[in-house]
């Protein structure tokens, strides 16, 4: 008798639970662990849930190194997230694996996306459909140490010639010719490979890739860009790969006058107390041509989301890519808003730190990576062959171009 009663209450309980879950949808949001990003998302989820009491969002995070593997493994196991964050360069891999579903143009009109967001958003468009929307975007700029520049009596450089000149004047060496403080950091494994690919190659009159996405930097412009870069270490001796282990570490320690880095470094450099630093746009070439490299993490909808979960996921995605969410993201994470209107406010454009990055976004390019790690490695090896093995820059450039083209060809198959 008693047993039967327990069973009945259990059944009632289960059906009650089923009933309540029919009213409240729970969706899962995935991103990688980065303290400020997780905090910003917690805040956005709280705002969203307050406005949509019938939806709960569960944030799940993984260490960056495991993130892609987790997403792909979860997809293979059939329990992927409803909304997930992904680097724009991973889209091809995720799209091929069916991790993401294209955004419904009825909910996210293509024309509105293209007029409201910075043009780099087109990097996550495939066959006319968008696969996600970014909350924030990143661009590059030149950070400079005000104290070291003032000591050397130079002003922040506006052109490449001025950059080399300022770097020479701020470099310090000891009696043995060893650099003790760099003029400009030389760290190709950091952001310099992006600077070379999307900025220097274009400033020398070339293009990194052609319209079909094939390697096009094996040109005179590419060679001039590579020589400009390697000359920083070999001829001008203003920096050295591996000095203080990494360029950003050298700058942070006050042992580098200038470094090229992205918006994502603002938080880390914000902790510097020993000296004041400033930011200027990446130097233009002699003709005033400027370029920049922009990148972003976008949020997309998981392939598994359907029915009311998909509707909830769409609502959530719309909220986290709204102007309101972008302001929260800028405050908490320090990354620039992906919508023009939210980014190019008078306050932001008057901000001495944000302004150079925002100006950079106007003329920024975005590389369409097919194998980000492999393509980055090829570029690092290209510079290392010149710097460490004294290989002829032309031969090294051709070798790198052939290797990268092979990666691109393999991805097209």
């Amino acid at each position: 008798m008693r047993k039967r009663f327990t069973l009945a209450s259990l059944v009632a309980g289960i059906s009650l639970m089923a009933l309540s879950s029919a009213q409240a949808v729970e969706i899962e949001y995935w991103q990688y662990v980065f303290e400020t990003r997780v905090a910003a998302m917690d805040q956005l989820i709280a705002n969203f849930e307050a406005a949509n009491p019938d939806i709960t969002v569960k944030q799940v995070t993984f260490p960056y190194a495991d993130y892609q593997t987790k997403v792909i493994a979860a997809q293979a196991a059939g329990n992927g997230p409803d909304v997930l964050q992904f680097f724009y360069g991973w889209l091809d891999k995720f799209q091929k694996g069916g991790v993401l579903q294209p955004l419904d143009p009825a909910v996210f009109p293509t024309a509105a996306i293209e007029s409201d967001f910075f043009p780099i958003v087109s990097a996550i468009k495939r066959d006319g459909a968008y696969y996600g929307l970014p909350t924030a975007v990143r661009s590059l700029a030149l950070f400079y140490n005000k104290k070291l520049l003032a000591e050397a009596g130079v002003t922040p450089p506006a052109t490449l010639d001025e950059l080399v000149d300022a770097a020479k004047k701020t470099t310090k060496t000891d009696g043995g010719g060893n650099i003790t403080s760099e003029g400009l950091t030389v760290d190709f494994a950091g952001q310099d490979h992006q600077w070379w690919r999307e900025v220097l190659v274009r400033q020398m009159g070339g293009e990194p890739y052609d319209a079909e996405g094939n390697v096009a930097y094996d040109s005179d412009a590419g060679l001039a860009a590579l020589k400009f870069y390697t000359d920083l270490q070999t001829t001008h001796k203003v920096g050295m790969v591996g000095f203080m282990d990494e360029g950003q570490a050298a700058f942070k320690a006050g042992l580098a006058a200038m470094t090229i880095d992205g918006t994502f470094r603002l938080g880390s450099f914000g902790a510097i107390t020993d000296f004041e630093w400033g930011v200027v746009e990446l130097p233009a070439n002699a003709d005033g041509v400027r370029s920049n490299y922009a990148s972003y993490f976008a949020n997309g909808i998981g392939a598994g989301a359907a029915g009311e979960e998909k509707a909830a996921a769409e609502k959530f995605l719309a909220y986290i890519s709204s102007a309101e969410a972008m302001e929260v993201w800028l405050d908490v994470v320090g990354e620039l808003p992906a919508r023009r209107a939210a980014a190019l406010t008078d306050a932001n454009l008057a901000d001495p730190i944000y302004a150079p990055f925002l100006k950079g976004l106007e003329y920024a390019h975005t590389t369409t990576f097919v194998d980000e790690a492999g393509q980055r490695q090829g570029a690092i090896d290209m510079v290392n062959r010149v710097l460490l093995e004294n290989q002829d820059p032309k031969a090294s450039l051709d070798q790198a171009a052939a290797a990268e083209q092979a990666i691109i060809d393999a991805a097209k198959m």
Partner: protein, 312 residues
């Protein structure tokens, strides 16, 4: 006194209607097996099953995302035509062929003399052993900073103080591999010294006394008595340290995180290549083929060493 029933081979005996009843011996065996079964099943499941899966995967083009297709020997053909593979193959054997003999000779010499030291013996032994207890990643990062250029690199700081030219160490394709190998040898030294000391202590003192009475020189004693009687220890350490060097990963990965296995792939061992193929490129089939090759190398080297060092 009841008579003991006839035992059959399995240790079970027939007793009336109750069926099989185990003898005391049989029961012991059954108990032993039921305790052993759990680790055996677990071991088969987590060890052998994945191993055989890896063999199967090496014949497929599995990339985690799409179902695996059988591609025959394609991965192996691609592997043997891949210059990166041959580079890592050479690197792996450089770690083994240079690292293993140096670490064995060094640890034997230290153990041989440490065994004779009475003053501060325990303290010295602990000093040698501490690196073995420390996390490989932590050791690698400390050494990574030692090898830095001026102004933070300790070693280059000393060189500069002696008016010697600064060395690139980890930034040089020629010096990077030896630089990493030094840390790997140092980290494993403590363990090998302890095992050698134990081996030396196990040799009966009477042999040495007899040899000294017969007037043998210390060198002859070492050659005729110590080394031959230490052979089982030497075999164990050779195999153990060879496998360690062939599987080197932690030191390399942590000392070259900006450009893993670099510069220019000069420090990349096979295990790091497998890791990158599997977890950066998600090319699981190709990574499995590399794993199978590493497995065959490890197996062949272990068997070869056991054969060469077998007791005649």
């Amino acid at each position: 006194m009841t008579s003991v029933p006839d035992n059959d081979a399995a240790g079970a005996t027939r007793k009336g209607r109750t069926g099989f009843v185990l003898t005391q011996g049989g029961r012991k065996v059954l108990w032993a097996w039921s305790f052993l079964a759990l680790p055996i099943v677990f071991y088969c499941w987590i060890r052998f099953y994945p191993t055989f899966s890896a063999f199967w995967l090496s014949f497929t083009d599995w990339d985690l995302l799409r179902p695996a297709n059988f591609v025959g020997l394609e991965n192996y053909q691609r592997l043997f035509a891949d210059p990166v593979f041959w580079k890592t193959f050479n690197n792996t054997f450089a770690y083994l062929i240079i690292g293993m003999p140096i670490s064995l000779v060094l640890s034997f010499v230290i153990a041989y003399f440490l065994d004779r030291v009475r003053f501060g013996h325990s303290f010295l032994r602990a000093l040698y052993f501490i690196p073995f207890l420390t996390t490989a990643a932590a050791l690698a990062w400390v050494w990574r900073w030692f090898y830095q250029p001026i102004p933070i690199g300790v070693i280059n700081g000393i060189l500069s103080g002696l008016h010697l030219p600064a060395q690139p160490f980890l930034r040089s394709p020629a010096q990077a591999l030896p630089s990493i190998m030094v840390t790997a040898i140092w980290a494993g030294l403590g363990f090998q010294i302890i095992i050698f000391i134990a081996g030396l202590r196990a040799i009966p003192q009477t042999y040495y006394e007899a040899a000294r009475i017969d007037g043998l020189s210390e060198w002859a004693i070492l050659r005729k008595i110590t080394l031959p009687l230490l052979k089982p220890t030497t075999i164990f350490l050779t195999v153990f340290s060879s496998i360690g060097f062939l599987r080197i990963f932690d030191q390399v990965y942590n000392m070259t995180t900006n450009d893993p296995g670099g510069p220019l792939g000069s420090t990349k061992p096979l295990v790091l290549m497998i890791y990158q193929t599997a977890f950066s490129s998600f090319d699981m089939g190709y990574a499995a083929a590399q794993t199978v090759v590493l497995f065959i190398i490890l197996l062949a080297i272990s068997l070869l060493q056991l054969y060469l060092l077998r007791s005649r």
